[in-house]
Point group: C2
Chain length 474, copies 2
């Protein structure tokens, strides 16, 4: 983060905490410059940024004043989705590829990106662990433990499971090329082409791509933006379609940000166990909680080995290292064999580097900092949405992760907003990406994993205007 | 390599070159010790090893003498395989998994392994490149160029193509998690479940696993141990079965070691182009040639973008890094998208490390050393097979790579030899692993990628005895 952004965030926090009150004058640029030991230019930039965020206003020849009141936030979405309960072959990929390809350039404002800012991660410290692992690599370690992955890393992951109250041994884990491979291996282990899989509605587009790749049918189940999938609807869909698996994100679901309460997770596992339907649990955001403690994975309630818990370090520690894993329960053998025939093994020095980093300690300290940053950014983005988006907009307040799910007013067309924004160098993720029915035409997902600087603020203002125009609001 | 092994190899070379002649006495241990600047114990070990290899004999109280003549090598296999031309669903995996799992322990003699000794690779120098790449990682490099892979590495690969006379630009390459992922992506891009693919007979078991994983049928085509697939038989199979792809290893095929001459490759591509059948070219051993220059990939003759050239650094430079690639010709878009949905991206620091190593130069020097070592080892293994295997054995002399294909005498059962050897801590790769028909029941593949020390020599002697017993030879 740049110096002026840090300063602006500090002042914003003082405003939120009431240390600076509405109408109060900010200290002069010179005084702040002296007090903080930064240049006057930096202070100016910080004040401009606060003004862009609507937190302060400038008065000619008089300085900057705290705005009278922060804008009220738009209401939350308050109803579960209502998919039609049909089973469908999956064919979403063209749209998804188009959106992903348009979002990947460095100069695009990455509101549609699936990644938080890479500057939030301890890449230098990790780099030193990687340096040590690579220079001291035991040659024989390149040919043993190939398919399950390095036992040193599996032990560290098992230790984290233990701390979270789960009994998952190192031998019950397979290391993968990111969580995406883990999830694909679960699908490979459980299904044959033509089978059906239950998913949330909306669900992560990579889930749909995976099902399409495997020639599967998807059944969207009603899902609430706060607490996730509707269990009764799930029961009914299982009875009707006899799916081979249920694929859910239990914690801070992408795109909704929904999190299933612990009791609901317990009930979920009980019901799936009764039906004999395995759960593919995608839990890549669980560590990014804003509350007191990590939300439990559904895996914690699994007695029969039916929950295949998939996670990774890509969103929490080591973007670009591509290290994920799966604890596949009773399907361990099938998953290990699928891994062997898919990619054989995962980059050995990267595995050893992460094992070494985790063994040194420091991961939890980093996670605390990361969560604090993401929570602060969520607040800033919510306020920016309040400032810029039209009346009738709804937006989620997830208790973790870095996505906001926005319902635009009736009549707005998220795909049209997406296309217009793309032409202006702004990426968003339109709702229909997240549905096999192409539902959620008036919704979009915003990434708030990047610091809210002027460029992002301006992009959000543009999006708000495009959304209003699309909804026919002047 | 240990010091005594290097000394033994030197002396063996002198014997082969005629500098030491049959019947001649070796210098005394003391003299060699002084001349070479090594300990007497090292010289003793070297002489023991030469004796174990049958190159010298000891006479009581008199010293070591060069054996009267090196044993004549067994003849080469001299006929192409004769599969029945049927198209079959693939179901080889149980046997293959069993063999691979039994071969993976560190204490097993790795004659069935698919990897050469990891000590043949510059892992420390690579480690330093990795250290630098990881410590200086640009955070944004973890989120851009995700799916095709880092352009710095793709440029280095394109440069090597250019040196070998191929026009393949950096933009025409997708980086993968080893060649295995590259090959799987090609299959995903080209086929639907139930389609048929042409393969060699015998063919690499991972090919069969990939076809099984994708729900495909395999058609084995007659293949000669010296020059590869029979083009007329291929034509006939294409006419009969209308396969969606042809998957071949054109250079130093695994397991045969066969290499298609350039003119044959040109004809191969012409014929496939006429049929409109794409070629998945698995070329992971092409750099391991013993001749004057790298054998040309079939890709060199491709005018229509129908050849998908797959390779990796796993066997030539960087085992365990899991960096491969594919130049998929006209299927670039389909392959890139398949990569995105399979594993999204490949470990970024590992890609940058290899790009850096390649840019520094030194890869070709390493390759020259590696080829020299592999050629020397092939000679030693061939002589050991001559010493220990029964009359009627045939063995290939590949012009590159590190596999020998052995035809045991009529009546021998390679699966039985494999099981008996496994119980004694020796791994081999029995012929039926390499065939969808479970053919090649009297054949086996030997890995000569590990230095031939006493333990390997003893293992080869054991294998020879087991083979003789299995063939009913006293």
């Amino acid at each position: 983060m740049k110096r002026y952004q840090a300063l602006a965030d500090d002042i914003a926090a003082s405003i939120r905490d009431g240390l600076l009150r509405p109408g109060q004058r900010l200290p002069s640029v010179r005084r702040t410059s002296t007090a903080r030991g930064v240049s006057p230019a930096t202070v100016f930039q910080a004040y401009y940024l606060l003004e862009a965020r609507g937190l302060v206003r400038s008065r000619a020849r008089s300085g900057y004043y705290v705005s009278s009141a922060p804008p009220a936030l738009p209401p939350e979405p308050d109803a579960a989705s209502q998919p039609d309960g049909e089973s469908r072959p999956v064919d979403v990929s063209e749209l998804v590829f188009e959106v992903l390809e348009s979002a990947m350039a460095r100069d695009v404002v990455p509101l549609g990106s699936a990644f938080p800012s890479p500057q939030l991660f301890p890449l230098r410290k990790l780099g030193r662990a990687m340096a040590s692992a690579a220079v001291h690599l035991d040659p024989w370690s390149t040919v043993d433990e190939l398919t399950p992955g390095k036992v040193a890393l599996r032990r560290q992951i098992a230790l984290r499971y233990r701390i979270d109250g789960l009994q998952v041994g190192a031998d019950a884990i397979v290391i993968t090329n990111g969580a995406l491979e883990a999830l694909n291996l679960c699908v490979t282990a459980l299904t044959q082409p033509g089978d059906a899989v239950l998913v949330e509605s909306p669900c992560f587009y990579a889930t749909l791509q995976s099902l399409e790749r495997h020639g599967l049918r998807a059944i969207e189940v009603p899902t609430h933006p706060r607490d996730g999938i509707d269990l009764d609807a799930m029961d009914a869909a299982i009875g009707r379609h006899r799916p081979k698996a249920c694929w859910l994100m239990t914690n801070f679901q992408n795109p909704l940000g929904s999190a299933m309460p612990d009791e609901k997770k317990r009930a979920l596992v009980e019901r799936l166990t009764r039906h004999g339907v395995p759960l593919i649990e995608d839990d890549v955001y669980g560590e990014l909680y804003f509350g007191e403690r990590r939300p439990t994975p559904a895996k914690a309630y699994d007695r029969d080995g039916l929950v295949m818990h998939c996670a990774s370090f890509s969103k929490t520690l080591a973007p670009g290292y591509r290290i994920g894993w799966v604890a596949p329960g009773r399907y361990l053998r099938e998953v290990a064999r699928a891994k062997l025939t898919a990619t054989l093994s995962t980059c050995v020095p990267a595995q050893l580097a992460l094992a070494d980093y985790l063994a040194q300690g420091g991961y939890d300290r980093h996670l605390r900092r990361l969560r604090t940053a993401l929570l602060a950014q969520q607040g800033q983005y919510l306020e920016a949405v309040a400032r810029h988006f039209p009346e009738g907009t709804r937006v989620t307040r997830p208790a973790g992760g870095y996505f906001l799910w926005i319902e635009l007013p009736e009549g707005a067309d998220a795909l049209r907003v997406y296309r217009q924004a793309a032409d202006m160098g702004i990426s968003i993720a339109p709702g229909p990406m997240f549905s096999v029915r192409r539902g959620f035409g008036h919704c979009l997902r915003l990434n708030c994993g990047h610091p809210l600087d002027e460029r992002v603020e301006a992009a959000l203002a543009t999006l708000g205007r495009l959304a209003a125009a699309s909804a026919g609001i002047a």
